[in-house]
Symmetry: C2
Subunit: 234 residues, 2 copies
DNA sequence: CGAGGCCTTGAGCCGGCTCAAGTTCGGTGG
DNA sequence: CCACCGAACTTGAGCCGGCTCAAGGCCTCG
C-alpha cells in the first residue's frame, strides 16, 4: 500500500525536513540520520489510508511530516468517536505497547517517517534525549485529551463548535497566515464525531454562528471568522 | 499543611512500600533509596487537600501510596469537570512543565511520596529506566483519557454510569476482593462531574439500575452488583 | 433534637436527537 | 459542454433524554 519515496541521495530528505528540528531525529548524529534516511525516510500516505488499526499491535511509530489524520475509536455497536486529530510534527503510535485503542486514518495525502518500535527502543538507549521528546509529546497529547474531555463533558453545542474552530486555527498557525480563514481537512461527520454531536446539530450550529455574525462565512470546508469571534471565544 | 511522617530509621518506609516495585523507585540503588527515604518519604495528605493547583506550576511529582484523588478542571464561569480519578500506584504531576491544567484534591486521607521535579530530572539522567516508567505511565494515562472521551462523547446516561462502575471495580481490584461490592470514595457530585451528567440524572440512573436488577443495592457510597451486571456491561 | 450536608424524588421544559426531505457540488460519462 | 449521479451537506418538523427548578428524606455532628 505504501509508496516509498526514498532516493539515492540518502541523507537528502532528512536534510530538508522541516519537522526534524522538532522531532526525535533532532537528537541523532549525522551518521545515524544517514542510516535512517536510507531505511525509513518519507513514506507517502494516501487519503483514507490507515496507519494504525484499532485492536492491532502497532509495529511502527510515525512522525507526521505533512497531511492531517483522524484518530477513530469504534464501539462494538458501530458508534464512532473521534478522539483527536493529528497534524505535522505530531507522532502516531507513540508508546503504544499492546493493542491500539484507535485507528489512525489520513484525511488527505501526506508524508510520514516510519520507525520500527524495536529500532526506536534501541535508538533511545543510546540517545536518552529521544525519551525526553517522547515524554514531552505524551504530555501535550495528554493535555489535549484533557481539554477534549472538558469540551465533551461541560460545553453546549455552540461552545463545542467554537472550541473546535479555535483548535483548528491553532493547529494551522505558522503554516497559513492568521487570516481568520480556516481550512477544515475533515468532513462534517468527522467533526460531529469529534464533538459528540449529530451531523445535523453541527450543521445547524454553524448556520446559527454565521447568522449571529460570529462567523463571516461557512462554505464547505472553508470557514471565515467574523467580528465577534475573538470576543465569544474569550 | 503537610505532615511529614518520616522516621529516624530512614530506609524503613521505602523498604515496606508496596508501591515501590511498580514505581520509579524500583530503578534506584539501595543507597539512593536511603537518600530519598530521608528527604522525601511518605507525606500524609488530609481529605480535601490540594496537591496540585490549576494554573500553578507544579514543583513536585507525587507517587500515590494510598488514598484516592480527583482531578478537577474549573471553567471561568464556574462549571466543573472532573478529568479523572487517581489511585495508589499512579502519579500526580508527571511531566507537568508549565501551568497545571488541573487541580488534584484528596478524596480521603492518604499517603504520597514527593519528588521535586529538579531532583527527578537529575535522577532520571543517571537512571534512564525512570524515563521508561514515566513513559509507560503517560501511556496508560492517555489510554484512560481516550476511554473517558469515548464515554463522554458517545454514551447515554445509563452507559456512562455502568462504565464508571466498571472503572471503579477495576481500580480497586487486588485490594478489595472481587466481591461485586464497590466502595465509592467520592461524592455523587464528583461522579456527575466526571460523567458529564447532572447530579439528579446520576441519582435517577442509579435508582433505575437498581430497579432493573443490574445493581443489587445502592446505599450511599456502597454499590453492589446485581445478576445482570456482567451481561449489561459486556 | 436541631442544623446542615448530601442524596433522592417529582414535574415540567428544552437542547440536541430522529427521521425525512431538499440542496449543493465534484466527478464521470455521453 | 451538459446531464446525470452519488456523496456531502443543509434544512425542517416533531420528539425525547437529560436538564432545571423545587421539595422532601436521611444521615452526621454538634
Amino acid at each position: 500500500m505504501e509508496q516509498c519515496s526514498k532516493s539515492g541521495a540518502s541523507a537528502h530528505f532528512c536534510a530538508i525536513c522541516d519537522i526534524r528540528s522538532k522531532s526525535i531525529c533532532a537528537e541523532m548524529t549525522d551518521e545515524e540520520i544517514r542510516i535512517i534516511s536510507r531505511t525509513m525516510a518519507h513514506h507517502a500516505v494516501s487519503e483514507g489510508q490507515a496507519l494504525i488499526t484499532q485492536g492491532e499491535i502497532c509495529e511502527y511509530l510515525y512522525v507526521v511530516i505533512s497531511g492531517s489524520y483522524r484518530l477513530v475509536t469504534l464501539l462494538p455497536d458501530g458508534r464512532r468517536q473521534i478522539t483527536g486529530f493529528v497534524f505535522p510534527g505530531d507522532f502516531l503510535g507513540a508508546g503504544a505497547t499492546g493493542e491500539s485503542p484507535v485507528t489512525a486514518e489520513a484525511l488527505e495525502p501526506g508524508l510520514v517517517c516510519r520507525f520500527s518500535q524495536d529500532f526506536l527502543a534501541e535508538m533511545s538507549q543510546r540517545h536518552p534525549g529521544i525519551k525526553d521528546r517522547l515524554l514531552s509529546r505524551a504530555e501535550t497529547e495528554l493535555t489535549r485529551a484533557r481539554t477534549h474531555i472538558v469540551v465533551l463533558g461541560k460545553q453546549t453545542a455552540e461552545e463545542k463548535v467554537l472550541s473546535f474552530l479555535q483548535l483548528m486555527e491553532q493547529a494551522r498557525r505558522g503554516r497559513d497566515r492568521a487570516t481568520g480563514r480556516i481550512y477544515l481537512p475533515m468532513a462534517r461527520q468527522d467533526i460531529a464525531d469529534y464533538l459528540g454531536l449529530r451531523l445535523e446539530t453541527l450543521s445547524r450550529t454553524l448556520a446559527a454562528l454565521k447568522k449571529a455574525g460570529t462567523l463571516a462565512s461557512v462554505s464547505g470546508r472553508f470557514v471565515e471568522m467574523g467580528e465577534r469571534f475573538e470576543i465569544v471565544t474569550g
